[in-house]
Amino acid sequence: MTTHADGPVALSMADTGARFSLRIGVTPDDLAAAETAFGAPIFATIGARGREAGRESLCLGPDEWVLTAPEADRAPIATAFAGIGAAHPHSLVDISDREIAIDLEGEAVTALLAQGIAIDLDAFPSGHGTRTVYDGITVVLRRDAAHAFRLEAWRSFVPHVWHRLTEGNKELALGI
């Protein structure tokens, strides 16, 4: 775990557990089956997160979720979904290694993120998540508390994002 505190925002590369991309039709039936397989709520509202026992779903699109879980749950989840495949066609793809997550915490966190994110972070509720863009790079952004966010980007983009965040943090530290 890398951490960084050259500025007012604490930055750390988060430990990555299991991560899946789930695609499935939005019939209540399909969703219910997926929920059962996953073992945590799966909401159909874009931006909504469903959490239970360390597992979390985040709805990214009308038929797309990213599922996260502790590493140990990886195989059981895959098996559970394989079990519903015939009745509920879907796509579950392991993307545990595709992204790397960065945790950000501190009062100035929105100022730091606003160096690269165009959406209004004041209007982004805690407990939500979304796919958006940081400095031209697709990221998944979650807000966990007023001053705590998690940012995920594809692996090869992370050094760039990390560099920008640490530089931005230093800039915030200067207070100008």
Partner: protein, 113 residues
């Protein structure tokens, strides 16, 4: 279709009909004229008809039916009506939804002013 031209954005706000949110253009990508359906049986088409499908575009000056993709959001392609003179969006709607009636749309936009 045009890989060699760098595709850049202005800074419009676009309403994604799937996310039901109005978001900055950086999250979206333009995807050309809308309601051009790929023919069911291309082989049966004349060269002229196939050319029209491939290349002939309305290029409307004024309200334009076009496609966008919320590529850095929900990733869905959707349709929009945008006035190409002002760049204002008159409407956005889900892919597959019927083409809205332009007269009604224009009247609504006028009223909203």
């Amino acid at each position: 279709m045009v890989p060699t031209m760098r595709q850049e954005a202005t800074m419009l706000l676009i309403h994604c009909p799937y996310c039901d949110k109005t978001l900055p253009e950086v999250e979206f990508a333009y995807a050309g004229e809308a309601h051009i359906v790929r023919p069911a049986d291309p082989a049966a088409m004349s060269d002229e008809a196939w050319r029209d499908f491939l290349f002939i575009r309305t290029n409307a000056r004024g309200p334009h039916f076009e496609r966008w993709r919320h590529v850095h959001g929900c990733a869905r392609f959707f349709n929009a009506v945008r006035d190409t003179v002002s760049d204002r969006f008159l409407a956005t709607y889900k892919a597959g939804a019927p083409k809205p009636d332009l007269a009604t749309l224009l009247a609504e936009t006028e009223r909203a002013r």
